[in-house]
């Protein structure tokens, strides 16, 4: 996946290292290898690899992670502009 890099410096991912208990769940669920566990605490080693899928935040048992999750899909975003985020869906049978 290192061949595929999207826009840098945009992710909404936040990690509260003080709250982290080092369980490693974020490491297991992240599909882009964004995290490592170092001295029993999660560290973000590849912030720009984050695609904001939200798996880490959903699975953090102590809410140390937050991200504004969503799908990186132009059709979805156009719909969210027009209909609002609650009513948007991924195209009409398009991507998802």
């Amino acid at each position: 996946m290192d061949d595929f890099r999207y826009l840098p410096g945009v992710t909404t991912l936040k990690l509260d290292e003080k709250a982290c208990i080092g369980c490693g769940m974020c490491l297991a669920v992240c599909p882009h290898g964004v995290f490592v566990i170092n001295e029993r605490t999660a560290k973000v080693i590849d912030r720009d690899g984050c695609m904001e899928c939200g798996a880490c935040a959903t699975n953090c048992p102590v809410n140390a992670l937050s991200v504004d999750p969503g799908v990186g899909c132009a059709a979805y975003i156009i719909q969210s502009w027009i209909k609002g985020k609650e009513n948007a869906s991924c195209g009409d049978g398009g991507c998802c």
């Binding site: 996946m1 061949d3 595929f4 890099r5 999207y6 826009l7 840098p8 945009v10 992710t11 909404t12 769940m25 297991a28 669920v29 992240c30 599909p31 882009h32 290898g33 690899g49 984050c50 695609m51 904001e52 899928c53 939200g54 798996a55 880490c56 959903t58 699975n59 048992p61 504004d68 999750p69 969503g70 799908v71 990186g72 899909c73 132009a74 059709a75 979805y76 975003i77 156009i78 869906s89 991924c90 195209g91 049978g93 398009g94 991507c95 998802c96």
Partner: protein, 403 residues
């Protein structure tokens, strides 16, 4: 759908009795039966229905038998795809019946699954299910299929149908706790967007272990004490993975095609003589060519060459492939179009390609919503501007030529 052994036996006996009865009491029936056979069309009768069939149900071709468990009978599925599975896959990949390609949720198994066997959780999109059972070449396992409304694992997790609540619901509905003695579920890693492992444990007592991203690694995972190596935790986007997405992207454009053709031919016919049908036809074909190469550049070329086209925003990649495609059209019609028309054609091909390539963000496994939104805020005005300038130039050229 339990295997009804008695029924099989019973049905054999019924036939035999029937024959004996006919022979004794009414020989004519046999005669007319033979005559009917000769007269009746077609090949000899098909084999008798499978004893697994049950009125009101349809037996799935991928089910080989049913096994008895403390929670009732469970279908055992084949580990290989047959011809009809492959044909259906090709159709779905081409966009046919794609939104209705589902299987019934619930518990299935492969091999000789017993109470120690692992439980793999999957989506009820048949492509996902086929990928999983095909990957399970040696393992004996249970497959718990969730009701994701026929949507694949990752998209369903994003939509909230492959979710904590659904896992808990299916664990209870299938009475999984009566079927297996352990309390572990293996979930595909990409479902983690929708499933909170600690919540599943809390709500139904089953511990979630995150399996690999790709089903092809599931055998490795099971045979290595439920562990993945780092590469199995990461998504990929290979040339083949990009290629299989293209047919669906193309079929989604059909509904816009008619509008595009209509507008292109009308716009091309307008000139100093108000409207000319012959001009609409000749110039229309040229503008439609630019549109079609723009589509190919955005939907086929940009996705296939994604890692090699310069630029990070997809709209930029699409504009570049559209520039090359537009140049090809300009070269083909060179001599029949002037400089202004070449500009119009190039801009149009670039705008179409840029927009379509940008839409491909939704099909990739690495674009973040924040990034896509940032790119779109710049790209959409640029694409719209290019189409407007292109149309104006195309019109202006028509008036210039004849005026």
């Amino acid at each position: 759908m339990a295997p009804l052994k008695d029924e099989e036996h019973g049905s054999c006996r019924t036939v035999k009795n029937g024959c004996e009865c006919e022979e004794k009491s009414n020989p004519q029936v046999i005669f007319s039966g033979q005559a009917a056979e000769d007269l009746c069309c077609g090949p000899p009768a098909e084999p008798r229905s499978s004893h697994l069939e049950k009125p009101g149900y349809q037996l799935c071709r991928f089910v080989e038998k049913f096994i008895e468990t403390p929670a009732g009978s469970v279908p055992r599925v084949k580990r290989t795809l047959d011809r009809s599975d492959i044909w259906e896959t090709i159709k779905v990949r081409s966009g046919i019946n794609r939104n209705q390609y589902k299987i019934t949720p619930g518990l299935y198994c492969v091999g000789a699954a017993d109470h120690h066997s692992p439980v793999l959780v999957s989506a009820n999109y048949k492509l996902s299910f086929d990928a999983l059972r095909q990957a399970l070449t040696h393992s004996h396992a249970w497959i718990l299929v969730l009701d994701t409304r026929g949507v694949n694992v990752w998209c369903a997790a994003g939509k909230g149908t492959f979710a904590t609540e659904e896992v808990v619901r299916q664990v209870r509905a299938s009475r999984l706790a009566d079927v297996v003695s352990h309390r572990t579920l293996i979930l595909p890693q990409l479902s983690a967007t929708g499933v909170a492992a600690h919540q599943v444990k809390k709500q139904c007592g089953f511990k979630v272990q995150w399996g690999p991203v790709r089903s092809e690694d599931i055998e490795f995972f099971i045979s290595h004490d439920n562990k993945c190596d780092a590469a199995m935790r990461k998504v990929t986007f290979t040339l083949w993975e990009r290629f299989v997405l293209i047919p669906v992207e193309i079929t989604l454009l059909y509904k816009y095609l008619l509008w595009f053709l209509l507008i292109a031919f009308i716009l091309s016919g307008i000139g100093s003589g108000i409207f000319s049908f012959s001009q609409a036809w000749h110039r229309g074909l040229i503008s439609v060519s630019a549109g079609i190469v723009g589509i190919v550049a955005g939907v086929v070329v940009a996705p296939l060459l994604l890692p090699w086209i310069p630029g990070k925003p997809f709209s930029v990649k699409g504009a570049l492939s559209g520039f090359l495609a537009g140049s090809a059209v300009a070269a083909i019609f060179w001599g029949r179009v002037n400089a202004l028309e070449v500009t119009a054609l190039m801009l149009f091909a670039m705008a179409v390609s840029s927009y379509l390539a940008m839409n491909f963000t939704g099909s990739t496994p690495f674009t973040s919503p924040s990034g896509v939104e940032k790119e779109m805020r710049l790209a959409i005005p640029a694409q719209a501007g290019a189409v407007l300038i292109s149309s104006a130039a195309w019109l202006w050229a028509a008036f210039g030529a004849q005026g």
